[in-house]
Symmetry: C2
Subunit: 404 residues, 2 copies
């Protein structure tokens, strides 16, 4: 998943605009202080754990309007608004989150937390290991999607929210969505997995593995002990370039770049950048290394590989048997990383369990990354679905309150 | 394209078997001796040029039964048979080339030559530069598909063949096929491009570029001056792994590996090989570096990127306007590297020029690599098409001979 695409910001979404959440700040929540560390799926313990998170809007007195947004591989807690007046662009899903937007912050209390294993303020391999006073590096335990969700649940408890109105995530964020509804069925009223899967495919593992190999082949990786030295930027850039190809569709690459040359009129017959698509990929790689930690890339991609709800629960049907959330499942027609058939597997297993499920295949040309682009169908579906869920939840709660 | 897949050899194709061409040897042909070097498309000169080639079967007295096979990125001249009785496997397309096989060496004189820029006996970056007495390395000029074909034409002339009965190639080999029929329309009676395209797509360039970046990021690459030292194996292995993913279909990866673990029953929660697909990719990378030169990978992938018949001739329609060969165009249903729509572009442009063209989309699950697998439809189509072409060519030649 890429948040590096530059999407133009309309005037209403600029700082001070009517549709912007405005200036926001990242907060932190720390728990699992020793000796009460969190036991991870791998058997190791981790603590203290800090989660970086942001919230937008106000939590209703009934605490029933919280929407959790789960970010993808390289994302962070900064979904909407600006950290400083100088910020050139807003948070990564500002298009869809703000006053009057699809996820309307005048109606909903929106939360996003950075995942553990990451490098955007939450505890990860670049964090200080309290036992050594140095960054964890390769001593950071392998974390899973399940571990990430359990940490997030601590934050939701800390915020005093018993049940989320909705939880939404695209790509790896969708893994978190599915893990949440399965692990905490009573705590989620609705779920919106976007462009995701219930288990990573062999092809997905293969792309992840080549990216990891590229990082680990970089001598600067130094078995993960590179903090304070030159980081393995070349390897990380290659990993990012590989992944980036999978985020775009063949068709979109043709439209966006075709075979156009970059700043020259004829072939140079050398190994410098020649085609626009090469320039674009190098730019994506170069800008990524400045904002992301190579070890976090290894750990998060590994967590992706392990994700397999059908295997964990015997089948996807069984995985979903206690689910109480209603679903809006969204796939993207041009997504070949998490193709529509993988969303349909989720839909079939939900419906077989009697879970109210709406399925949308968005006809969007941008490949996996389409959900970062403006799309009126996506926006309308999100706002309509959330409004329906909120109405039903409030009617249901009133109904329950009225029951003697 | 991969020739690393281990396809079982049936008894008749073993050394001494009725369908094997038996023991064969690679020959060499050298031309363009200074001062008569070949002028390349990039403007530089190259010479002397050596081509490694193999032939199977006998050239008919009329010299009208020659079939040229063009290999793909990592291929070589060794299409069929065995170099020594100890060889564990035959040449890379032995399944389809031999006595009684689809390309029947009792009927046809089959030729395959290694491309220039390669590392399998033909002049390439690892060859000695006569000006320095050392390997060319980065001083090797950038060669194009067109240069490769012009060199091949020298060989065909040398063999005394005025017109090829047929020319066949898959993947990048298909680029050569198309270049041949366009450049030498009078010298080719029929053409069989398989799983290929008339111009590399932006996505194809992108995958090539990331592979090149992986090689060039390896410190052992040393700006291409690594001969006699430790080669950039880590980088080349990563380039190969990236490419290998594109040779298989998502479906086939699921069937072949799924999410099975390699030699263990539970997750290891570490960064060692865990899934079968990881093990497979690492094996492919490791075995490739032992047989291929990293600089050749750079040069050949660059030649692929430059290939663009529509741009060179104004349009594909114009590119094909003088074509005299009849065509059998073959695409593979599960190929996402050179998808069927790209073959259909070729077919449309041929038909619009009135070129007799048969199109087959093979229903094969293995992705781009499907043409390395046994496929009766493919075999039958090849043998039937060649027999028809030979009959027509001989009738036509007799017709012309009878004309006063």
């Amino acid at each position: 998943m890429s948040i590096d695409e530059v999407i133009p910001v309309d005037d209403d979404s600029r700082l001070g605009g009517a549709h912007s959440v405005g200036l926001v700040e990242t907060k932190v929540f720390t728990f699992a202080e020793p000796p009460n560390e969190m036991e991870l799926e791998c058997g190791q313990k981790l603590g203290p754990i800090t989660l970086a998170y942001e919230t937008y809007g106000e939590l209703a007195p009934e605490r029933d309007n919280a929407v959790l947004i789960c970010h993808a591989l390289s994302g962070d807690a900064h979904v909407a608004g600006y950290h400083t007046p100088q910020d050139k662009k807003p948070g990564w899903w500002d298009l869809y989150v703000g006053p009057g937007k699809a996820i309307d912050t005048t109606k909903y209390f929106v939360i996003c937390s950075n995942i553990i294993g990451g490098c955007k303020g939450s505890t990860g391999p670049s964090s200080l290991n309290p036992k050594t006073g140095k960054p964890y590096g390769p001593d950071f335990p392998v974390v899973t999607i399940s571990d990430m969700v359990r940490a997030q649940k601590e934050l939701i408890d800390h915020l005093g929210i018993r049940r989320l109105l909705s939880i939404k995530g695209g790509s790896v964020g969708g893994f978190h969505v599915l893990e949440w509804v399965v692990r905490y069925p009573d705590c989620v009223a609705s779920a919106i997995p976007i462009a995701t899967t219930a288990r990573l495919s062999a092809q997905g593992i293969a792309f992840d593995e080549v990216g990891r190999q590229a990082i680990m082949a970089d001598p600067n990786w130094a078995e993960g002990e590179y903090y304070g030295k030159e980081p393995p930027w070349a390897g990380l850039a290659i990993a990012r370039m590989i992944a980036h190809i999978t985020y775009l569709s063949d068709e979109q690459m043709h439209v966006k770049f075709g075979r156009r040359l970059q700043g020259r009129k004829a072939f140079g017959y050398d190994f410098k950048t020649e085609f626009e698509v090469e320039s674009y990929l190098r730019y994506q790689g170069d800008s990524f290394v400045r904002r992301f930690d190579a070890n976090s890339y290894l750990y998060i991609s590994k967590a992706m590989d392990y994700f397999d709800l059908p295997a964990k629960y015997g089948s996807l049907l069984q995985a979903f048997q206690d689910v109480k959330a209603e679903f809006l499942v969204i796939s993207i027609s041009s997504d070949w990383l998490f193709p529509t058939y993988q969303s349909k597997e989720i839909v079939r297993a939900l419906k077989a369990n009697g879970v109210p499920t709406t399925f949308i295949e968005l006809d969007a040309p941008y490949g996996h990354d389409s959900f970062f682009h403006p799309n009126e169908t996506l926006g309308g579906a999100l706002s309509g679905f959330l409004a329906n869920v909120q109405r039903r939840v409030r009617e249901g709660d009133r109904g329950r309150a009225a029951t003697p």
